[in-house]
C-alpha cells in the first residue's frame, strides 16, 4: 500500500506502524464520574466492523514519526484521505 503523507508525499506502507481505529483518539475525560468505567470500556474495546471507509491511525515510524489519520476503504483498500492526527485530534476538540 502507499500512504500519501501530507508532509512527505507518497510513502510505502512498510515505513508505517498500524495502530487501529481513530476511536482511540476519543479518550473519555470523565475519569472522576461514575460513568467512567463504562465509557473507558467502550473506548478501549468496542469497535465498529465497517465494510467501507474507515479512519485509522498509522505511525510513520521509519520516517518523521508523525501519527496520521488514514481514511481507507476496507473492501478496496482505496485510501481517500490522509491527514496529520494532530490536526484531526484538534478538530475533534482535543487540546491539553
Amino acid at each position: 500500500m502507499i500512504i500519501d503523507h501530507p508532509l512527505l508525499g507518497p510513502r510505502d506502507s512498510e515505513e508505517f506502524v498500524y495502530l487501529g481505529s481513530t476511536d482511540l483518539i476519543d479518550r473519555p475525560t470523565n475519569w472522576e464520574s461514575s460513568a467512567a468505567a463504562e465509557d473507558f470500556h467502550q473506548y478501549q474495546y468496542i469497535r465498529e466492523n465497517i465494510a467501507g471507509d474507515i479512519q485509522e491511525l498509522w505511525y510513520h515510524e521509519q520516517g518523521d514519526q508523525s501519527w496520521l489519520v488514514v481514511t481507507r476503504n476496507t473492501l478496496t483498500h482505496e485510501i481517500s484521505n490522509v491527514e496529520l492526527a494532530e490536526d484531526f485530534s484538534r478538530a475533534k476538540g482535543r487540546g491539553k
Binding site: M1, I2, D12, V17, L19, L24, I25, R27, P28, T29, W31, E32, A36, A37, F40, H41, Y43, Q44, L57, Y59, E61, Q65, S66, W67, T76, H77, E78, I79, L84, A85, E86, S89, R90, R94, G95, K96
Partner: protein, 982 residues
C-alpha cells in the same frame, strides 16, 4: 545419436554448443534452447513420473504453464527441485534429474500405484486410511508422504544470493508479445516512463513461435526490431526473464527476475531479484495459455499442446516426433499442421471434434471431422490413438488444442471475477481489475493477432494520454487477419479409461465427477477435495477444462460454475527471493554499544537482546563455568565496585513547558512535582490497566527531562508517547526525541562507586552524598570538560550511579573508568550479574511485566495515584484487576538451601498432584544468589501477598525438579534500602 530431432532454422545459436546432463547422460543443445527443447531435440520424451500414480510423463507445453516437465536442477546445496524445464534456459554444465520415481525413470517401482488407482480416487486418503486411528500418524501418513510428492530438497543452506529491487514507472506493461510490444511502443513514444516485463528470456511472446508476418517481416524479426527500438529509448526499461507474480494495492507489483547465468559466473551476484514495481498504470498483455481436451489416456509422453509443438518447431527448430497428428476443437490447432507441412513434415492425421468442413487442406493427412480421440496406446511413449470413428492411427506425437484461456490472472488478484465468453469459449476479464489496470490482446480475449496489435497500440497511447503525455502519432503494425473459431469441447466419453485434467496433481474427469456426486458442488470445494489446480502450476492448463467438465456433469452453465479465486503468486517464487539479502546476521540490523570493542577485548560473552549485543559476563582466565564469573562479578560489585554497560536502555529527551503535566498523564505514579535535579522511578500502564514498562525520568532543568525505558520497549514506549501527545493532548507543549543511540550510559555500582567517579568528575562538580544524594540527577563534566549526565539511581541495590556521555566518548569513558577503578579492583559486569542483583532486590523486569500483570499484582499498588487521570487509571480500577486471589508477585526460597530452583517451575500445594487444576502459579525469574548462598526466585502465586511464610512446591516436570519452597518477600537483599543512601 545427438539431437536427432533438430531441424534447420529457429531462434537458436548453433555456433554455441552447450553440454548438459539428464539423469547422468551427457547431451548437447544450443544457446537459446530451454532445457525442454534440448531434451526434445535429443528425442527425450519420457521426462518424469506423475505425482500420485507415477505415470510416465512427457513435456506438454513450451511455457510457464508446464505441469509435467518439472525437474531437479543442479546438485548438492545448489539443487533446486520442481523446476520447469520449459522455462529453464539451457546453459553449459546444466545437470537435470527427473523426480518422483524409485528406481530408474523408465521402470519406476512406485508405478504400482497406477494399477491400484481404483482405490485412490478423489479424497481417497479421507476414506481409505481411517482405521485404526493410531495408524495415521505412524504409518499411513509417512508412507503416503514418501510415495507422493515432487522433488526433494537438498536440506542444506541455499548457497545462492538473492536480492530485492525497487523500480518506479508511469506504465507497467506485463508481457512482451505482439500486443505488449505495440502498447510499449506507442506509450513510450508519448514520453511516458515505461517498464516492459516478460517472463521469457527472449521477448516476443508467441511471435517467436508462430509464422505470422508483421509489417512485412517475420513475426520474430518484427519483435526483435521493436525490442531494439524500445531499448534505445531512455524512458523504457526492458525486463526480460522477469515474471510479474502479483498485483498488490495501489499500483505495486511483485516481479521475479531470473539472473541465473550471471550468478553462475559470480556467486555474490543474485540468482534472482525480487522487484517491487511502483506504477501509475498497468497494461496487461499476458497473452493466453492453450488447454488440453480430456480423453482416455491423454497423458502419455508425446501428447502435447498444439501451440507447444509449433514453439518447438518454429522457435527451437525441434520436431518432437516423426509421425505427428493433430487433435483440435478450433481453427488454431490446424496451424500446427500447416507449420509442419511448411517445414516439410507430413502430418499423419488431423482430428477435429467439430462437424464442419476442414479448415484448410493438409496434404497427405487423414482428416477426421466431427471425430474424437477416445484412447491412446504406448506406456513410455505414444504409439497409437484410437478414434471415435473406430479407426486406430499410428502416431508418436499428438498435438492437442482445446482452445485458449486468456491469462487474466492479475485482473482477479483484487477479487475481480472473470466472465464467460461463448464466442471464444473461455473466461475473459470483467469487473474490478486492480485500480489502474487495463488489458489488451489475447489476455483480454482478443484472439485475432491483427486486432490484438491495434488494441495494444491504442491502449499504450490512450493510457499515456490520460497520464498527461502527448498521444503517439505512429500507426499500429499490420498483419493479415486470421479468424479464430472454436466450439467448446471439454471431455470425451472414455469408458473405463481415465482422462486426465490436472496432470501435475493427477486429477481425472472421474475424480471431478465423483466429487460432484459426493456433494461437492462449488468449484472451490471440488478444487480442495480433488486437489485440482493446487500443484506448482496452479492448474494453468487444467482449471478451465475442469470447470467445463463440472458444468457438463452438473448440467449448468460455465458462468454458474464460475472460477476459483486467482491469487498471487502467478508462478512459484523461491522463499529466498522474498528474504533477499536479509539472511543470517543480515536478518535484522546488529546494534553494538560504543564500548562493544572494549568488551570483546575482555573476552566478554555476548547475548542478543533484541537487536543489541550485550555483554552477558566477563570470564577471567581459569573460570570454566559461567556461574564462576557471574558470582564473582556480583560479589565484587557488592563489596567494592562494578561497571555495567546500560547504553541499550531506551532514552528519550523531552522538552517543553508542559512536560510535567504530560508525564503525569502517562505515568501511573505522581510526576507533577519532580524537582529540578531529581530522578523519579515511574511505572507506565497500558490503557487497560496492565503494566507496560518502567524506568526512571530525571528533570535536568525546568523544561527539560530525560526518560529511560527498558531495552525491550524503547521503541514501543516512544511510539506510545508520540501517540499520547499527537492524538490525545496535541496542545501540550511537549517535544521529544529518542536519544538511545546518542548517549553511552554506564552503571557504576558498589560501595566504592562514588570514590571511583570522583576521580574522573571535574572538580567543580560536587557529587558528595550531601550535594548529590540518592535519586539526584544533573549535568556535569568529566575528564576535563566532557559533558555528561549523572543519575544517582540503583538497580543493583548498592550505592550506584548511571553516567551518560555522548556516544563518541563511550569507549573512552569505559576505559577511563576501568583505569581509575584499578585501585578498587573494579570489575565490569554483564547482564547475568545485573539480573542476579535485581532479583536479590526483588525488582520486576521483563519476565514479570509479561502483559498480564497489574500494578497491584506487582506489589506496586501503593504507588498508584488516585488524584489524577493517567493512562490505565480507570480500567486499572476494575474489580477483576484488583482481586486478592489474582496471581501476585512474591519471592520464593528453597526450604532446603541446597535445593535447585528453576525459572518456569509451577507452584503446587505440598501434597497436590502436578495437574493443571492444581496449578497455583509459577516462578518467573530465578537465580543463585552468591550473597545469600542459595537459590532465590520471584514469581506469581494466587493471593501471594497474604501467603508469605507458607510453604509450597516448585515443580518442573520437564527438567525433573520438585522442591519445597517458602513464599517470602521478593526483597531478599537489604530490604530497607540502606546501602543505596550512603
Amino acid at each position: 545419436m545427438s539431437q536427432i530431432n533438430r531441424i534447420d532454422g529457429g531462434l537458436i545459436d548453433r555456433e554455441k554448443v552447450l553440454n548438459f546432463t539428464f539423469n547422468g547422460q551427457i547431451l548437447k543443445g544450443y544457446e537459446g534452447d530451454t532445457l525442454a527443447s534440448a531434451l526434445l531435440a535429443n528425442n527425450k520424451h519420457l521426462i518424469g513420473r506423475s505425482f500420485k500414480y507415477h505415470r510416465p510423463r512427457g513435456i506438454v507445453t513450451a511455457g510457464s504453464e508446464e505441469p509435467n516437465a518439472i525437474m531437479e536442477i543442479g546438485n548438492g546445496a545448489y539443487k533446486e527441485p520442481n523446476t520447469r524445464a520449459t522455462v529453464t534456459q539451457l546453459y553449459n554444465g546444466l545437470e537435470a534429474n527427473s523426480q518422483n520415481h524409485r528406481g530408474p525413470l523408465s521402470f519406476d517401482f512406485m508405478a504400482i500405484t497406477d494399477f491400484l488407482s481404483p482405490l485412490l480416487g478423489a479424497g481417497f486418503y479421507y476414506k481409505t486410511f481411517m482405521w485404526p486411528k493410531a495408524f495415521w500418524e505412524k504409518f499411513y501418513e509417512p508412507a503416503i508422504r514418501k510415495s507422493a510428492g515432487l522433488g526433494t530438497l537438498s536440506t542444506e543452506t541455499d548457497p545462492d544470493t538473492y536480492d530485492k529491487g525497487f523500480r518506479h514507472c508511469d506504465i507497467l506493461i506485463i508481457g512482451a508479445g505482439a500486443s505488449g510490444l505495440s502498447a510499449a511502443l506507442s506509450a513510450a513514444e508519448s514520453g511516458a516512463k515505461i517498464i516492459l516485463a516478460d517472463e521469457d528470456f527472449l521477448m516476443g511472446g508467441r511471435l517467436n513461435s508462430e509464422t505470422n508476418e508483421i509489417d512485412g517481416l517475420a513475426g520474430s524479426e518484427w519483435a526483435k526490431k521493436t525490442v531494439a527500438k524500445l531499448s534505445a529509448m531512455e524512458n523504457v526499461t526492458l525486463m526480460s526473464d522477469t515474471t510479474v507474480f502479483g498485483a498488490y494495492d495501489h499500483g505495486i507489483y511483485g516481479a521475479i527476475e531470473n539472473r541465473a547465468s550471471e550468478a553462475r559466473e559470480d556467486n555474490d551476484k543474485p540468482r534472482q531479484v525480487n522487484w517491487r514495481i511502483y506504477t501509475k498504470r498497468t497494461i496487461l498483455c499476458a497473452g493466453a495459455t492453450e488447454r488440453l481436451i480430456a480423453f482416455g489416456n491423454n497423458d502419455r509422453p508425446g501428447i502435447m499442446l498444439a501451440s507447444a509443438v509449433r514453439a518447438y518447431l518454429n522457435r527451437f527448430s525441434v520436431v518432437p516426433g516423426q509421425r505427428i497428428s493433430v487433435y483440435t476443437n478450433n481453427d488454431d490447432g490446424w496451424k500446427t499442421a500447416k507449420d509442419l507441412n511448411a517445414k516439410g513434415f507430413r502430418v499423419v492425421a488431423v482430428i477435429d471434434s467439430r462437424s464442419i468442413s476442414p479448415v484448410m487442406r493438409v496434404p497427405g493427412a487423414e482428416i477426421c471431422m466431427g471425430t474424437d480421440v477416445i484412447d491412446t496406446k504406448g506406456r513410455r511413449a505414444l504409439k497409437s490413438i484410437q478414434l471415435s470413428n473406430g479407426k486406430t492411427i499410428e502416431t508418436d506425437t499428438l498435438a492437442v488444442s482445446g482452445g485458449w484461456n486468456p491469462n487474466l490472472h492479475f485482473t482477479c488478484h483484487h477479487r475481480g471475477i472473470p466472465k464467460w465468453n461463448e464466442e471464444i469459449a473461455s473466461f475473459v476479464p470483467d469487473s474490478a481489475p486492480p485500480v489502474g489496470m487495463s488489458v489488451a490482446g489475447r489476455a483480454k480475449g482478443t484472439m485475432v493477432l491483427a486486432d490484438a496489435i491495434i488494441e495494444g497500440h491504442n491502449q499504450g497511447s490512450s493510457v499515456a494520454l490520460e497520464l498527461g503525455y502527448k498521444a503517439s502519432e505512429s500507426k499500429p503494425a499490420t498483419t493479415s487477419v486470421v479468424a479464430y473459431n472454436i466450439s467448446a469441447h471439454w471431455g470425451v466419453p472414455s469408458g473405463k479409461n481415465r482422462a486426465w485434467v490436472d496432470f501435475q496433481n493427477d486429477v481425472t474427469v472421474k475424480d471431478i465427477k465423483l466429487a460432484n456426486q459426493e456433494g461437492f458442488k462449488s468449484v472451490e470445494h471440488v478444487k480442495r477435495y480433488t486437489t485440482l489446480g493446487m500443484a506448482t502450476d496452479q492448474g494453468k492448463t487444467a482449471n478451465v477444462l475442469a470447470i467445463g467438465i463440472m458444468a457438463e456433469s452438473m448440467g449448468q452453465t460455465m458462468e454458474d460454475t464460475g472460477t476459483t479465486i486467482f491469487r498471487p503468486p502467478y508462478v512459484p517464487v523461491a522463499i529466498g527471493a522474498f528474504a533477499g539479502r536479509r539472511r543470517g546476521m543480515e536478518f535484522y540490523p546488529t546494534r553494538y554499544t560504543p564500548s562493544h570493542d572494549w568488551s570483546a577485548e575482555q573476552n566478554a560473552v555476548f547475548v542478543e537482546v533484541g537487536m543489541w549485543y550485550r555483554s552477558q559476563w566477563f570470564p577471567l582466565p581459569g573460570e570454566t563455568h559461567w556461574r564462576q564469573s557471574v558470582d564473582r562479578e556480583v560479589r565484587q560489585t557488592r563489596s567494592s565496585v562494578g561497571i555495567c554497560d546500560v547504553t541499550t536502555l531506551g532514552k528519550i529527551d523531552i522538552k517543553g513547558e508542559d512536560v510535567s503535566e504530560f508525564l503525569n498523564k502517562v505515568y501511573a505514579n505522581a510526576f507533577a512535582k519532580v524537582p529540578v535535579g531529581k530522578t523519579r522511578y515511574g511505572l507506565m500502564l497500558r490503557e487497560d490497566g496492565i503494566a507496560m514498562d518502567d524506568g526512571t525520568t530525571a528533570r535536568l532543568s525546568e523544561n527539560h527531562f530525560v526518560m529511560t525505558t527498558t531495552t525491550a520497549n524503547a521503541v514501543s514506549v516512544y511510539r506510545h508517547l508520540q501517540f499520547c501527545h499527537q492524538c490525545l493532548w496535541p496542545d501540550l507543549d511537549v517535544h521529544m526525541i529518542s536519544v538511545t543511540e546518542q548517549y553511552a550510559q554506564y552503571a557504576v555500582a558498589g560501595p566504592n562507586s562514588r570514590k571511583l567517579l570522583e576521580k574522573i568528575v571535574d572538580p567543580e562538580c560536587d557529587i558528595s552524598n550531601e550535594a548529590f544524594p540518592y535519586m539526584a540527577a544533573g549535568e556535569i563534566t568529566v575528564c576535563g570538560g566532557v559533558p555528561a549526565r549523572l543519575f544517582r539511581i540503583s538497580f543493583s541495590g548498592e550505592l550506584a550511579y548511571e553516567i551518560a556521555v555522548p556516544t563518541r566518548y563511550g569507549d573512552s569513558l569505559m576505559r577511563v573508568l576501568m583505569e581509575a577503578g584499578e585501585e578498587f579492583s573494579v570489575i565490569p559486569y554483564g547482564t547475568e550479574a545485573l539480573g542476579v542483583m535485581r532479583i536479590e532486590k526483588g525488582h520486576a523486569a521483563g519476565p514479570e511485566l509479561n502483559g498480564q500483570t497489574s500494578a497491584y499484582d506487582l506489589g506496586m499498588g501503593g504507588m498508584i495515584s488516585g488524584k489524577k487521570d493517567f493512562i490505565g487509571y480507570t480500567l486499572g480500577l476494575r474489580e477483576e484487576l484488583q482481586r486478592d486471589d489474582r496471581m501476585q508477585m512474591v519471592g520464593f526460597k528453597p526450604v532446603n538451601p541446597n535445593d535447585l530452583l528453576l525459572a518456569g517451575s509451577h507452584l503446587l500445594g505440598l501434597r497436590d498432584k502436578a495437574t493443571t487444576e492444581n496449578d497455583q502459579g509459577w516462578i518467573s525469574s530465578c537465580i543463585y544468589s552468591p550473597i545469600l548462598g542459595h537459590y532465590i526466585g520471584i514469581g506469581f502465586i494466587k493471593s501471594g501477598h497474604s501467603r508469605k511464610g507458607e510453604n509450597v512446591r516448585a515443580v518442573d516436570l520437564v527438567r525433573g525438579n520438585d522442591v519445597e519452597v517458602e513464599i517470602c518477600s521478593p526483597h531478599f537483599f537489604d530490604p530497607e534500602g540502606e546501602r543505596l543512601r550512603v
